[in-house]
């Protein structure tokens, strides 16, 4: 029993070490050539443009449902005007980045893991190495850079569409004026709130791409292993995103107090 636990702990520690090695190497690769700019653009298109539809649709409905939920409480105190403030703060500081991160992870961490996993089991990664290409530079770094660059952009769009959804819901459900909603929503935000909302997706983009790449490049057991890696990539990246959210929020609140 003790032996099994020891082995499992050792494996876990080794996996964590390998993950951080891959994640660190993906950024260190940027310091030296060759760099694959075209691959970064291709990945930005795949991760960013490819995720646009789900991010926008989900953002719109989350904004709307936030208004319905908070509005129904504020009605009891005759403070429906505060809905814009609350929805704006919740979306920009928390829900926009985190929901976007989780959605993009669901779509892309799995996609990256299955793509790289399939390449590994069909010896395409070995073929790449045999032709003198570093898979870490060619496959991992472009995805990581694309994830880091694209997620803040998606978050901004998600925030905006969320507020739009909230506005629509508040106009039709709470009978609030659209101008009042937008004015309160914008005035409620400080620079620190926007900074918090923009800092998080940078980290989420890094997490979901590195986890996807790590799971894909450590596939064991053929096509069945690829399926397992795909599922694990989504689960691990989502858990990591939510866990990191706690720490990032704490750091952002601390910095917000000190700096702004």
């Amino acid at each position: 029993m003790v032996e099994v636990l020891t082995d499992a702990t050792k494996r876990f520690v080794l996996n964590v070490q390998d993950y951080f090695q891959l994640a660190g190497q993906s950024l260190a690769n940027l310091a030296t050539s060759p760099r694959y700019f075209q691959d970064v653009l291709d990945q930005m298109d795949d991760i960013g443009v490819g995720s646009l539809a789900i991010v926008l649709m989900s953002g719109f409905f989350i904004g709307a449902v936030m208004v319905l939920q908070t509005g129904s409480q504020f009605v009891r105190f005759g403070q429906t005007g505060l809905t814009g403030d609350i929805v704006s703060l919740a979306l920009v500081r928390e829900l926009g980045p985190t929901i976007t991160g989780i959605l993009v992870a669901g779509r892309n961490a799995s996609g990256i893991a299955s793509e790289l996993g399939s390449m590994l089991v069909t010896e395409q990664v070995d073929a790449m190495r045999a032709m003198g290409t570093d898979p870490s530079r060619k496959l991992v770094t472009p995805r990581v850079v694309a994830g880091i660059l694209v997620l803040p952009l998606l978050t901004v769009l998600s925030d905006f569409v969320g507020l739009l959804g909230g506005c629509v819901a508040s106009v039709f459900s709470l009978r609030l004026g659209a101008i009042e909603f937008w004015t309160r929503a914008i005035n409620a935000l400080d620079f620190a709130d926007v900074m918090q909302g923009m800092m998080k997706p940078l980290v989420y983009g890094f997490i979901l791409t590195t986890v996807g790449c790590y799971k894909g490049l450590t596939v064991r057991g053929g096509t069945q292993g690829v399926g397992r890696a795909t599922t694990q990539a989504v689960v691990v990246s989502n858990v990591m995103i939510i866990a990191c959210d706690v720490f990032l929020t704490k750091i952002a609140l601390f910095l917000g107090d000190k700096l702004f």
């Binding site: 010896e123 070995d126 073929a127 190495r129 032709m131 003198g132 290409t133 570093d134």
Partner: protein
């Protein structure tokens, strides 16, 4: 107007008089135990070494060790004067540009067209696009697949994928080509086409080769036949049985047979063909 030959023969190098590949007491250990147990052999320039053995005896492992894709647990691997077994991955990436590797299933990049697959290494080396186009067409013509330029690997048959893989290995004009079971799972006619290609590569361009296979007839075909550039046909090689390795201008084929991670036999096609050893006879049936 002068035209240069489609693919220039490899230049003579200082290694011509020395072995181009040396395995010295190489051991490879995994969790499940020793796979290679003290492997030692040498390959001379323009020689074709047939690595013969059952599945799981370490043939592919040997090729991957030669390409530096794996590091041995013990022993020394030297290729083209480089001590591959102790090189860093960065140095290995540069070194591997001098060798070609034909993987068992082709290992073509399935999201790229045939032309992009073949051009991959040239694009990595930032070769001019006009030259890339010319060289890709040349090598695809060599493997008689110039009509598949814009097709995806998934649209090709198994044999065609292997031929594209050979073209991809050939495009950078390597001095050594490593073939991992190039005829495995192919019908006899397609297998013969692949062997003919390997013969042409050897006899026209003087490429040194390591060929892993479990089919002894592949080795005999390479030993007993040659490609005649004049008639562009494969013909029986009358000199094959009397050839000696000292004559490096003539290609030599040699067999290495694996058994339980060790070299069981290292010799000429004639020796293996006339063997009375029961284990070797199993391959001749």
């Amino acid at each position: 107007m002068t035209t240069r030959p489609p693919i220039a023969p490899p230049r003579r190098t200082p290694y011509d008089t020395d072995p181009v590949v040396t395995f010295d007491n190489v051991r490879m250990t995994f969790d499940e135990g020793d796979i290679l147990r003290g492997l030692s052999f040498k390959v001379l320039p323009r020689e074709t070494l047939i690595l013969l053995g059952e599945t799981g005896t370490g043939k592919t492992l040997t090729l991957k060790l030669a390409a530096g894709l794996l590091h041995p647990s013990q022993g020394r691997v030297s290729v083209l004067g480089h001590e591959v077994s102790s090189m860093s991955e960065v140095d290995l990436l540069n070194f591997r540009r001098q060798i070609g590797f034909v993987f068992q299933e082709g290992a073509l990049f399935d999201s790229m067209t045939v032309a992009d697959n073949v051009a991959y290494r040239l694009r990595e080396d930032r070769v001019d696009e006009a030259e890339i186009d010319q060289r890709v067409r040349e090598v695809l013509k060599f493997v008689e697949l110039e009509h598949t330029l814009d097709q995806l690997p998934s649209e090709l048959s198994g044999g065609m994928r292997r031929r594209v893989s050979i073209a991809r290995a050939l495009v950078s004009r390597p001095q050594i080509v490593l073939y991992d079971s190039p005829t495995a799972g192919l019908d006899p006619v397609t297998s013969q086409t692949i062997i003919t290609l390997i013969l042409r590569l050897r006899d026209v361009y003087g490429v040194t080769a390591l060929l892993a296979t479990h089919r002894v007839q592949d080795g005999f075909a390479l030993a007993n036949f040659k490609f005649d550039p004049q008639t562009r046909r494969v013909v029986r090689d009358p000199a094959s049985s009397s050839r000696v390795q000292a004559n490096l201008d003539e290609p030599v084929t040699r067999f290495v047979v694996y058994n339980e991670g060790r070299i069981y036999f290292d010799g000429t096609p004639e020796e293996i063909a006339s063997t009375k050893d029961p284990y070797l006879r199993r391959y001749l049936v």
